[in-house]
């Protein structure tokens, strides 16, 4: 894991140095998104993407398929547990984004699901009328603070990201912004070990992969350039999450469509 972290950090540092070296300012981390994310290391990204695909084929996809064979209540319970844990990152980010009410609601949701829901296995909060959890992370907070996304990156094992999102993830976790990481890996508590953290992260990945087996297969089969399709999906999805918007008109630039008329 340490090696992966070193590789990841090196790639991000390279991305940042590239951003700083740019003269056109398009990638400046201090600027807001221009709508077009720059590819600074396409060859490297494509190489890592191919590596990740091989890794997925050899490990994650078979694990996800095995996981799918588990009874639905077990999978639902597992999914609930990892979702509940993610609230621990969402709450500080709600606060940093000035969403005090949401932070309060999500804290209450976490308390209810951890106690009444037996460590998050069940989701009584939803039954009690709590709003659906909208996950937040440090990359989203940086974006809300006006930090541009920088270069598009594909991280080993972790997959698509941007310089901003990767910095957010690393600084948030290492900097003490992930309470679950703090009590498992960072601080030597008597109750949890490193294994608890890494296994929960792996389970989150497998749960996500298992929910999307058909979608990934379908996308791969119908893509002529799978790398480009995944990049587009990731970047659009991030923009939607950062905007916290479900308004249909916010999902795309209408100017794109007007171009067709002028042709």
């Amino acid at each position: 894991m340490k090696k992966i972290l070193i590789i990841t950090t090196t790639v991000i540092l390279l991305a940042i140095s590239n951003v700083s070296a740019g003269t056109d300012g398009e990638n400046s981390l201090s600027k807001k998104d221009s709508g077009q994310t720059k590819e600074c290391f396409e060859k490297v990204n494509r190489g890592i993407f191919a590596f990740n695909q091989a890794l997925d084929g050899a490990i994650f996809e078979p694990l996800a398929k095995g996981y799918r064979k588990l009874p639905i209540p077990i999978r639902r319970g597992t999914s609930n547990v990892v979702t509940n844990l993610s609230t621990l990152i969402t709450v500080p980010n709600n606060l940093m984004q000035g969403e005090i009410k949401k932070a309060g609601e999500n804290t209450l949701r976490f308390v209810v699901n951890t106690t009444l829901g037996i460590l998050g296995i069940f989701d009584p909060a939803s039954g009690l009328g709590f709003a659906e959890l909208e996950r937040e992370d440090y990359g989203q907070t940086l974006a809300r603070w006006g930090v541009g996304e920088g270069c598009y990156l594909v991280l080993p094992v972790l997959g698509p990201s941007t310089a901003r999102d990767a910095i957010g993830m690393l600084s948030g976790t290492m900097g003490g912004g992930d309470p679950w990481y703090n009590v498992t890996v960072k601080n030597d508590t008597q109750y949890f070990t490193d294994f608890d953290y890494y296994s929960s992260r792996a389970t989150t990945g497998i749960d996500f992969r298992a929910k999307n087996i058909e979608s990934f297969e379908n996308l791969e089969q119908n893509s002529m350039d799978f790398y480009a399709s995944v990049r587009s999906l990731y970047l659009q999805d991030r923009k939607q999450k950062i905007a916290n918007s479900r308004k249909v008109t916010d999902t795309m630039d209408d100017g794109d469509w007007e171009e067709i008329e002028s042709n």
Partner: protein, 200 residues
Amino acid sequence: MSIKKLLFKFSLVLILFSTLEVKSFSLEPKEFVQSVTNEASLILTKNFTKEQKIEKLKSIAKETVDIRGIGYYSLGVHRKNLSDVKKKEYLAVFESYFLKSFSSRLSEYTDPKIRVDSEKKLNEKYTMVSSTLLATEEKPEVKIDWRIVTKNPDKPLIIDVVIEGVSLAKVQKEEFNSIIQSNNGDINALLTSLKKFINE
């Protein structure tokens, strides 16, 4: 007029109306989307072979999707550099590509239940229709928005499908752009990839 003739004419009118009801789509964008999704859902639910489903879905797409518009949109800035002859060639290849890609993506689904929720008119040309793919025991609900071209109010057409905020037309546009750019702006590379996909 004899009773027989009258009955014959009456039956003829009835048959015509019933045919029209099956073949035509409603004109309001919201109803249009609901009727298209209902028809597609019916095909996917019925006991057809995969090939039969694909053929039926293709015929729905030909009637209800602005394939030419999506084709132009997917080309992005490269559209402006094309000669008329090349445009014609591209559109013909794109239609085959689109129908194959679209129908094979959809044919994997079984019994999808879509509820159309609302519509929002963006301008004279476009209306967004919001819908929800209902949750199953295995999967959560999915929000699907449809961009409808309403330039001709008598014949609305789908030009984009936005799944949980991700525009499929945009994904395609960026994929096409990537292929063209990685081949030094050569549109022929895209045409080759499209033809390869069609013949696979």
